[in-house]
Symmetry: C2
Subunit: 199 residues, 2 copies
């Protein structure tokens, strides 16, 4: 083990890491992605700028970690409910998402991260690997069980199914094209599943 | 008419306006939204910074106008096709969108605008009024005719219908969660319409 590797072992100091991520979350929630600088996070968290740079090479990955830390499961994707009622299970997940987005701080931090992802293909890849792909896999697993139970069309592409169920709420949030409500979320799931149902 | 009003009449100098918007489009396509400054656009377009500020009070509305100018119809929403075959008509629109997004310059400029919209509620309102709402109205008009012809469920909410048909491709583009293909776009339309069909 080289000195450098031992040094990067400091990444695991949980209190400092938590303090930096909590501060980064607050800064992006307050000032937006463009307003966040490593200097500002360092000074508010009471650490040296080099400490942040050692663990997070740029502000994109810092904001990604900060948002992941606050999502349900602390960035560890959570298995979808399976009561046997596919519509109720998917609606529960989507209604919970609508609830998370109703929190102004979480809304603004996620807007900061999403704005960065849109323009930064490398950060988008990290987001995909860390959150989007594992979440998508769990959604597909739930849909696959429904497909095997004959509740979904056997020919349906499960990536398309995930998009049909989850994209309408996400996109409405992204461009603010309408209100997000639990009723609206349930209506999306109902229509999407009708479109994907076994014939 | 006051002097100020006459002065704002200069907005209609079409050559200068077109040069500024074309330059702003190129700058955001090249450097992203954060990299665009009014100074840079002014210097590249060969106009004074004050000329730009007189017509566009901030870079958000400048980028909005620049992108609108390049979209089909020059920002004037175009009526959807109506051949009587709803699935083919919606697929044609969505496949054309996929084609537009395959142009790297347009892709990057639209990413810049979308990143700005995500964090800026006021710009999002302007985008909504100028582009999203009129486009949505035309989409709903096409869907309403299909509903009246008995092709869509009479109870279906047309805003939900628009989201179900158009959001999956838009969201996949936004977070780069998968490839955009004409075949994928057609499959989305097919499943969405099945979900919205008259019972």
């Amino acid at each position: 083990m080289t000195t450098e590797q031992r040094s990067s072992g400091r990444r695991r100091n949980p209190a400092t890491r938590a303090a930096i991520l909590a501060t980064a979350f607050d800064v992006v929630a307050e000032l937006g992605y463009a307003g966040l600088t490593m200097e500002k996070v360092a000074s508010r968290a009471g650490v040296g700028k080099q400490t942040i740079y050692r663990w997070w090479p740029n502000k994109g990955v810092l904001v990604l970690d900060a948002v992941l830390e606050r999502t349900a499961g602390g960035g560890e994707p959570v298995e979808l409910p399976d009561t046997g009622d596919l519509e109720a299970d998917l609606a529960a997940v989507l209604v919970a998402t609508v609830g998370e987005l109703a929190d102004p701080g979480f809304d603004r931090a996620l807007r900061g991260l999403t704005a960065a992802i849109i323009e930064d293909a490398e950060l988008a890849r990290a987001y995909h690997e860390r959150l989007d792909a594992p979440m998508r896999e769990l959604k597909k697993r739930r849909l696959r069980r429904a497909q095997e139970a004959g509740q979904l069309d056997a020919d349906v592409d499960l990536d398309l199914a995930v998009d049909l169920v989850f994209a309408p709420v996400a996109q409405r949030w992204t461009v603010r094209s309408g209100d997000l409500t639990p009723e609206g979320a349930r209506a999306v799931v109902r229509s999407a599943l009708r479109g994907l149902a076994a014939r």
